[in-house]
């Protein structure tokens, strides 16, 4: 019994001392480690998006970043991994908002392809081939006739994996890219309620549909000229009280100029106090017919949902 107590206490004391030492070292080194890794990450991001004006916002840790210049959304940076010959190749890829590759970077760190062969995918000449390409061109020349990438001689598996990682990553983040990070899930209910001017929410009827004292508010999307157009609609019985159309800074990616002018108070005011059946009779904004129609369609779609709920 006595020897057992001794054993436990010795192990306990050793563990305590060890924990104390480690917590001290941890406290001292943690900030340094973090600072280094964030500095390094930032410099990698800058390399694939060389414009000095832009800044990066992490959307998903180590995987997806949203890039903006001032308030304007200009593209994304993503990392996507694909198994190579003996390790996972994870290029960092900068993409502009039209889906064109700006630059890619294949970091050497953590990569253990064959030295002198597969490792050559990290060399600058290989990465540079990707600049300016779109999704269907990102293939090795030997694999697809549209392909514009020359593989590394004697390292086809590594080259193919690197190329596939860029192409498949682009596909993976396509939705995010086209909505500028303001996909349907990104407009939070708080935003919608603020934009609708509703004073108090009585009930969340369902996703994207709220009931207030004197009105219903819903959020609805419809594909416009280039991307989805989001519309927040306030409605009382059959009368549209007012709408709010997604602004460029809120993620709408329509052609600048005429088309983005739909998301302005002037156009929105045409929808104030209008009977739902008369929506179609309202004038479209000249030069932006498709987007204007998308707005009307979005209003009607949301209204149909509302009718279903009322029944």
């Amino acid at each position: 019994m006595k020897s057992k107590a001794r054993q436990v206490s010795v192990l306990f004391i050793v563990a305590i001392i060890s924990a104390f030492l480690l917590s001290f070292v941890y406290k001292e080194t943690k900030p340094v480690i973090l600072e280094y890794s964030s500095k390094e990450l930032n410099s990698s991001l800058r390399k694939v998006f060389p414009d000095s004006e832009v800044h990066f916002k992490t959307v998903k840790y180590d995987t997806l970043w949203r890039v903006s210049e001032g308030n304007r959304y200009v593209g994304i940076v993503f990392r996507y991994g694909k198994r190579g010959y003996s390790s996972i190749i994870r290029p960092i890829v900068g993409v502009d908002s039209t889906g064109k590759i700006i630059k890619i970077l294949i970091p050497k760190e953590g990569l253990s392809e064959t030295p002198g062969l597969g490792m050559k995918v990290t060399e600058a000449w290989f990465g540079q081939q990707f600049s300016g390409l779109t999704e269907d061109e990102i293939w090795l020349r030997c694999d697809n006739e549209n392909g514009k990438i020359d593989g590394v001689t004697a390292a086809t598996i590594s080259s193919r994996a690197a190329t596939a990682a860029v192409r498949e990553g682009l596909k993976e983040f396509e939705d995010y890219l086209s909505t500028g990070g303001h996909g349907e899930s990104k407009w939070y209910s708080d935003d919608v309620i603020r934009l609708s001017g509703m004073e108090e929410v009585e009930e969340v009827v369902k996703d994207k549909l709220w009931k207030g004292k004197d009105r219903f508010v819903y959020l609805s999307y419809k594909k416009g000229f280039i991307s989805k157009v989001g519309v927040v609609v306030s409605i009382h019985k059959d009368t549209v009280l007012g709408i709010h159309i997604q602004r460029p800074e809120e993620g709408i990616e329509e052609t600048p100029g005429y088309v983005t002018r739909v998301s302005s108070p002037e156009f929105e005011n045409r929808f104030g106090n209008v009977y739902i059946g008369d929506i179609d009779k309202l004038d479209a904004l000249s030069g932006a017919t498709v987007t204007s129609e998308a707005v009307k369609e979005a209003i009607k779609l949301g209204y149909e949902e509302l009718i279903k709920e009322r029944k």
Partner: protein, 202 residues
């Protein structure tokens, strides 16, 4: 006491004589700089774990010694790991998993069990320094051989220094890649063991 230190380097050399801890030896001796980093890490861990174990040797119950050794060794290894990550991140990247794996390096556990647990602290420190230095020297020589033959350069430090050019351009462009691949590790270690046995016997 001096004897213990010298013996650690030559007579009890971890790699050439005891032939323990070969796994990290083969894995990280691809360049002289990596080898140097690993060697220093092992010297640090071995010396301090030897010292602490020797100090506690009368307190540690016999049937509990292995878990206590492991706790002590892993404490120092974790300290080294954090410090490498914080102050020499590129080296930490290169060594990768082999730094945490020092915990299970049988050389270190072997010295704890076989020497430090049975000897007073000043001897244990000397043993740690000697054995550690012996390991580091061999690792450095292997790294040198493999880097020079495999890449034609010596002492390159990633991101800081491109390395001394030992051979001309023609060699660098078609170096003996085999030497930085795993077989090169075996070749280098065999060469060193052979030389040691040849001259050691006389």
């Amino acid at each position: 006491m001096k004897r213990v230190f010298i013996d650690g380097i030559i007579k009890n050399n971890m790699v050439l004589v005891l032939a323990i801890g070969l796994c990290p030896t083969l894995a990280v001796s691809t360049s002289a700089y990596n080898a140097l980093g690993m060697g220093l890490a092992v010297i640090f861990v071995l010396t301090f774990s030897n010292l602490l174990i020797s100090l506690l040797r009368n307190l540690i119950p016999r049937n509990l010694r292995i878990p206590i050794f492991i706790v002590i060794i892993s404490t120092f290894v974790t300290m080294v790991d954090y410090m490498l990550k914080a102050y020499v991140p590129p080296l930490s990247r290169q060594l990768g998993i082999f730094v945490p794996l020092i915990v299970v390096n049988c050389g270190i556990l072997g010295r704890a069990e076989g020497y430090a647990y049975k000897h007073p602290p000043h001897y244990a420190i000397m043993d740690g320094l000697g054995i550690g230095l012996g390991f580091a020297i061999i690792l450095f020589i292997m790294g040198t051989i493999r880097e020079i033959l495999g890449q034609g350069i010596w002492l390159s430090i990633p991101g800081v220094f491109p390395g001394f050019k030992v051979f001309g351009e023609a060699f660098t462009n078609s170096s003996v890649l085999l030497m930085i691949l795993p077989p090169g590790g075996f070749l280098a270690i065999a060469l060193l063991m052979g030389l040691y046995n040849h001259f050691g016997k006389k």
